[in-house]
Subunit: 501 residues, 2 copies
Amino acid sequence: MLMDDMGWGDLGLNGDPSRETVRLDQMAREGMLLTDFYAASPLCSPSRASLLTGRLPIRNGFYTTNVKARNSYVPQEMLGGIATSEILISELLAWAGYRNKIIGKWHLGHSRPEYHPVARGFHEYFGTPNVHFGPYDDVKTPNVPVFRDQRMVGRLFESKEFAIDRRRQLSNLTQLYTEEAIDFIRRQSASRSCQPFFLYWTPDSLHAPTFRSAAFAGSSSKASSYGDALVEVDHSVGRIMDVIRGDPRLAQNTLVFFTSDNGAALVSKTDAGSNGPLLCGKQTTFEGGFREPAIAWWPSRIAPDTRTAQVASQMDLFRTIVNLAGLEMPLNRTYDSNDLGPVLFANRSESGEGAQLNSSMFFYRGDTLMAVRNGPYKAHYWTFTNPIEEFRRGIDYCPGSAVANVTTHRLTPHQKAPVLFHLVRDPGERYPIPRWTAEYKWAKRQLDAIAEQHQAEMQPGVPVLNICDRAAMNWAPEGCEQLKMCLPKPISAPYHCDWPH
Amino acid sequence: MLMDDMGWGDLGLNGDPSRETVRLDQMAREGMLLTDFYAASPLCSPSRASLLTGRLPIRNGFYTTNVKARNSYVPQEMLGGIATSEILISELLAWAGYRNKIIGKWHLGHSRPEYHPVARGFHEYFGTPNVHFGPYDDVKTPNVPVFRDQRMVGRLFESKEFAIDRRRQLSNLTQLYTEEAIDFIRRQSASRSCQPFFLYWTPDSLHAPTFRSAAFAGSSSKASSYGDALVEVDHSVGRIMDVIRGDPRLAQNTLVFFTSDNGAALVSKTDAGSNGPLLCGKQTTFEGGFREPAIAWWPSRIAPDTRTAQVASQMDLFRTIVNLAGLEMPLNRTYDSNDLGPVLFANRSESGEGAQLNSSMFFYRGDTLMAVRNGPYKAHYWTFTNPIEEFRRGIDYCPGSAVANVTTHRLTPHQKAPVLFHLVRDPGERYPIPRWTAEYKWAKRQLDAIAEQHQAEMQPGVPVLNICDRAAMNWAPEGCEQLKMCLPKPISAPYHCDWPH
């Protein structure tokens, strides 16, 4: 279960004062809460590519070299998508006999057969290739299509079933995705074949402009559309979990992992989540951009009401799943993926003895390694929020927060003297460790060595997010004829995408 | 149980990523967590005076009129203290037959008999009249005395028993206070008289410069003295609670309330706690200055694992205790105290239906009403952090945070257009509600009316924190002769205390 732009601090158990994620909190109490769990990118497309490939965006190609250290993703006009040379976890599982389904937002490419999820290990697909951008006028720009398996079954905004009321921020999409998940799980459970399944459930209602179904409008004491949408996904998670809880065979044999694709998009102000005490949000390499709410649930193997401060990432789910499914990791590529089994299944007590794996986290922005974490220490080798011109226009990735020499508005190098934080003492990255201290010198030596080795061994993949082309948009996906929703495709005119931050 | 400078975000259940307050979290799971619980002041002395009197500092005199909107407290040279015209909860309970004890920091005046806790309803006293300021050279300034009941039994720093190793930040004081609490509770429980008791347990180890006992040095993954001190008080709370849990009569009949006197002192940087997502810290009228961790425990009356977002304050404990003890509120004065009984004993379910009492919170800084909260809305009529000259010298009450027109470095009026926040949507006070919205106009009208009525009815008490005098220091407390710790008292020379922020 992968949320879109949900923040670390949104979880009641992570300190949201309104504590409205009651079903997620229950799930965490029945399983394990991971407090130091990271995305692979502070942006949605690269994060999702890394989740499914177990590799950093710099390896799987989900980055740009158009400009140094710039964020990139898959907008409507993106020509690129997930390379066929990448092996997705869905593909490995399909080859091993799993039945796989993706419900919700794909975001790994469109308009080419090889970028379609049904070509990438997902037997079933109900959702959209992109986030709910729009509305588009369907002349200059097509509305985002909704797919059932290979075929488009409508478009966001214009199909009544997939309407999004922008003014009132209403849509029934999360409900559709919830029913679809329940239906899939029940279907798999009822089948005689005992075929195992992999469900990737990823609603996008928490992405600004957020939406909720009419029944949830006003359901949050937050009195915001984001708050309502959060109550709704919490409710949906509860409904899906109840299906699993209520079926002894499913409850016995199902690992459910809940997390988010990147930090809360603070730039959207009150139509966004919370990163709690963490610095900045989506788009940045500070904790607010990368650290995620994370819950692992599997009552027969994970002890209830446990938690871990193990440094881990969504990429670790790749190797964890491979091991659980009894498969082997592909040998011809480098992975950024650890097996979390020893952490998840350790059945540790409340006293929680801290990390078990010596993992490092590498914080990239585009083509640039900005920061490294190991143990409690994080070194920033580059700092950047967004350009000062953007900031002056009111675009702020760190609203209300400003740390001198840290939340910089130009790409600022710190290679010789990285800005160091102790993330347990100072999760908010407010107090750089003074350079003259022994602690600084010791931690710098460790982190420098880790960063140097990582960079010496790094072989970047071919960047796939450099070229845009309006012809790549979803003008006429398969199935549009019956719906009379085909649009004339313009002549191809590729150009270097503009990545402003 | 009143902590010193502990922050809202320090509690694991309030989102501290290290989650080391395991015993406090357990206490909250056995009882009720209050997420919107406030101190009466962002500073220790006024907060403590309000806790014991049930009245705002502006009423009980714990403020200054030397300068407008300035914070004040009880330093060593403070001439004033808690007025004899004030009625303390300890006095009411003593008159009703309770056995009362204060363990820890008093901070309501010294060097005059009427300011001594044993003269104010506490039959027993083990602790200090002030926080662990020092060390003093005992010539120009006496070290803070430690009292057992009426008599001084040593001084901080210089008495071996009460030593504080400043360099290593070590002291055994919290352990002494813990043993003392356990001894008192066991003694009361074992007595044949069934005399009820009131214990006010208030260690000051979390106040910078923090300290911990040697056994707890390095006990926190935070790798800070504050972190260790927090683990130690958490452990101490657990030990005290275990005594109560282990005695069926005590467990059946004891309300335990845990909170802090003001927000985390962010100015102390990494030797301080965390206010989680809240803005700024101690000394300010933002949420980080006022909102507190709060737990109510009473298994026979408070449902386990409940929580409330009821807006409430430490002053409410006065009326709550009066009602629980079957007493009557004094009639000849105004109280700022609601009975929390209906909230605590409602046995509400996890679904938590929000506030039950229509309480307003008034945020004063010295003589000035800075802000008002009602429901989710808070209006700032004045904003101020600290003077720009201080800030430029590195004294920062909001490190890493800066909100335009909000975290101001001069006392800035906003009476005509108060800065409004929706504290559920935006607990961090980052996004002022735009003035042109209907929401702003509606909420402003409500809050203006509440503020106006409050101010129209306000009769300020005589301010007791205006005058300082070095002769008021603890030169020769009762008992000093036997210890050979008397110091010559200088000639009285009162002056207006300097309150720089």
